[in-house]
């Protein structure tokens, strides 16, 4: 059992994170450009909490996860993990950091080597990082990990294609757990799963968090799932953070029009309620991050935008204690 963590201390601090991708021009000579995947975001995750990160595809939420994991080199800003600035660490130093910071992917199938048995997949990091050096003890540890994620010891002999989607995601979780991390970045961990299985995995993640005092960054597009699992929720739009608040505050009293639109778009499995509900259907599509709008990036689709919105970038302000929003009108 790991020691009881100090809850007040932030485990991860992200300050002014920027990630730009340069894209080359096409063959026909269209000019290249810079994709502003993340355009200056700040947030912290406290020990033991779950921060939900929501937004539509292309908003930068997955890139944020990859930057924290240092799978991408940030263009700017700082990432402080367990009190250490990891923004510029070299490969060797990163190795120890990576043990403490694990990831669970959306598609467990493509992240598992099809030629390795589940037992081998789980034993490999234990061996490579020298966590469990003895072979027999490693097998014990693999069994233990399988049990922790609700699989049976006999699953160790199976290969990824012999498992169902839910079981594969359990293996993905076990692999992350094997390193005894403090932070797990869950990148859309349930969106590829069937509805009836999603709940199993969410429950499992919650159980594990309680048992091992894990901290989660939970990246997802499904607002109902995020509401269920997160303590605080951050909403991203086009590389910017538009709102950040406690779960309850955000869902009951969203301050940003984009958050409101998102919430209203979520269908509710109750026809009567759906019939009564006010729908706020957004116009248009998410603009290209190659060429983001001026001012507030949301203004072209915003139902309440005023003149100022197209001219001036709204900063992320703390409107109420602990409730931040980037909107001139909030």
């Amino acid at each position: 059992m790991p020691p009881e963590p100090d809850v007040k201390q932030p485990l991860l601090e992200v300050k002014g994170l920027v990630k730009h991708f340069h894209v080359g021009g096409g063959i026909l000579g269209s000019p290249g450009g810079t994709v502003r995947a993340i355009d200056g975001i700040d947030f912290t995750i406290r020990r033991g909490e779950t921060l939900g990160l929501v937004g539509e595809s292309g908003c930068g939420k997955t890139t944020t996860g990859r930057c924290i994991l240092r799978l991408e080199q940030p263009t700017g800003g700082r990432i402080v993990f367990e009190g250490r600035d990891i923004t510029a660490l070299g490969e060797v130093e990163l190795r120890s950091v990576r043990r403490r910071m694990q990831v669970i992917f959306q598609d467990p199938y493509s992240s598992l080597n099809p030629r390795m048995s589940i037992g081998e997949i789980l034993a490999e990091p234990l061996q490579v990082h020298g966590i469990v050096k003895d072979k027999a003890k490693r097998a014990d540890r693999v069994r233990e990990l399988l049990e922790q994620v609700g699989l049976l010891p006999r699953h160790a002999e199976r290969y990824p294609h012999q498992l169902s989607g839910g079981q594969r995601q359990r293996v993905g979780i076990a692999r992350a757990l094997a390193m005894e991390p403090s932070l797990i970045i869950c990148d859309e961990p349930v969106s590829a799963l069937d509805v009836s299985i999603q709940a199993q995995i969410i429950n499992l993640l919650e159980d594990l968090q309680a048992r091992y005092h894990l901290t989660y960054l939970f990246i997802a597009h499904d607002l109902s799932v995020v509401r269920h699992i997160s303590d605080r929720v951050a909403v991203m739009y086009l590389g910017k953070m538009v709102e950040l608040a406690d779960r309850q505050a955000l869902y009951e009293n969203p301050l940003h029009p984009y958050t409101r639109a998102l919430l209203s778009a979520v269908p509710i499995p109750d026809p009567r309620m759906e019939a009564r509900r006010e729908r706020m259907v957004l116009r248009g599509e998410v603009p290209s991050p190659l060429n983001p709008p001026t001012g507030c990036v949301f203004h072209p689709r915003c139902p309440v935008a005023v003149g100022r919105c197209s001219a001036e970038i709204p900063p992320l302000r703390e409107i109420k204690p602990g409730h931040w929003a980037a909107c001139h009108l909030a």
């Binding site: 894209v23 080359g24 021009g25 096409g26 063959i27 026909l28 000579g29 269209s30």
Partner: protein, 318 residues
């Protein structure tokens, strides 16, 4: 577009420079030089050191390596490949005719390969696991299993035995006498083209099968399109890209790589010249040939990229 082409062409320079340095050094690692190869060649008769030194001086082989390299590079920059160390003739003259033959043969063989591979591959894919598919498979595996020079020998022998006829032995450029020219080159083109079609056929088949499983083919069927239209409009253009790559690279390879086939058909092509140049330690000629083939590879690659863009709009606009 012009900018892109310019950029790509400029990007070739460092590659070519690398190739140049590499081949320059590699050649000089091999023991012996053109003078030794010439005067200790046939019977090991000894020639006086004086004569050998004189010859070396004539060829510039007495110069330090870096000077030889600089001289060569300076020539290249003016597109002057220099003189062959073996014959003393300008290299452009040595290569010219052989290049015409090799280029024509490569074009003919690649064309034949393409003409065989694409319809056969499509046929095998749409008749997957039927006897037609198996027949195509046997045909193409036979092509792979038989080296083209061996097929060439078979062809020559059968022509000799059954028709008492042999293709012309001397290359006539196409524009001089097309009939003579084709009478000589069609056979090696068939032998080589058949062999290279095999890879293309397999590739076309699997690529086609892959495309036929794509969602947009299902969409096309759901629209009520019939098979021929689906194949011609929706599938072939998508499936052809990998085949195009393979055949194009084969084309560049064919240009300088058909040593044995050239021997069998007595073709005066670049392949034999290449081998002889190496054996004779004809540095200048070998270097020029390597540069030529490397340039061709780069150009073919470039053309393939352009063709990709033409066939696949996703690349064009990216």
């Amino acid at each position: 577009m012009a900018f892109y082409i310019l950029k790509r062409l400029l990007a070739m320079i460092p590659t070519m420079l690398g190739v140049a340095v590499l081949i320059f050094l590699l050649l000089r690692v091999v023991p012996g030089d053109a003078v030794e190869a010439r005067y200790l060649g046939e019977g090991g008769q000894y020639q006086s050191q004086e004569l050998m030194q004189m010859e070396r001086k004539k060829l510039g082989l007495d110069q330090p390596l870096w000077k030889q390299f600089v001289t060569w590079m300076a020539g290249l920059a003016r597109l002057d490949f220099g003189l062959s160390m073996w014959t003393g003739a300008p290299i452009s003259e040595e290569i010219e005719l052989r290049f015409a033959l090799s280029l024509q043969l490569a074009i003919m063989a690649s064309t034949l390969a393409t003409l065989l591979a694409i319809p056969l591959g499509i046929l095998a894919a749409i008749k997957q696991d039927t006897w037609i598919d198996y027949a195509v498979r046997v045909f193409s595996i036979a092509g792979l299993a038989m080296p083209s020079f061996w097929l060439g020998i078979l062809m020559i022998l059968s022509m000799l035995i059954f028709f008492k006829w042999l293709p012309p032995m001397v290359f006539t450029p196409l524009w001089v006498n097309p009939w003579e020219n084709l009478a000589q080159l069609i056979w090696p083109a068939l032998a080589v083209g058949y062999r290279y079609s095999a890879v293309g056929t397999r590739m076309m088949r699997s690529s086609m099968l892959e495309v036929l499983r794509e969602d947009y083919i299902r969409t096309a069927r759901a629209k009520g399109l019939w098979l021929k239209l689906i194949l011609s409009r929706h599938a072939v253009k998508n499936a052809i890209l990998p085949v195009l790559t393979i055949i194009s690279l084969e084309f560049a390879f064919l240009l300088g790589g058909l040593v044995v086939t050239e021997q069998v058909f007595n073709l005066n092509g670049l392949g034999m010249l290449f081998v002889e140049a190496i054996a004779r330690r004809d540095y200048t000629l070998t270097q020029a040939l390597v540069m030529l083939v490397a340039t061709f590879f780069l150009i073919v690659n470039f053309v393939v990229d352009i063709a990709y863009a033409w066939l696949d709009p996703r690349i064009r606009y990216r």
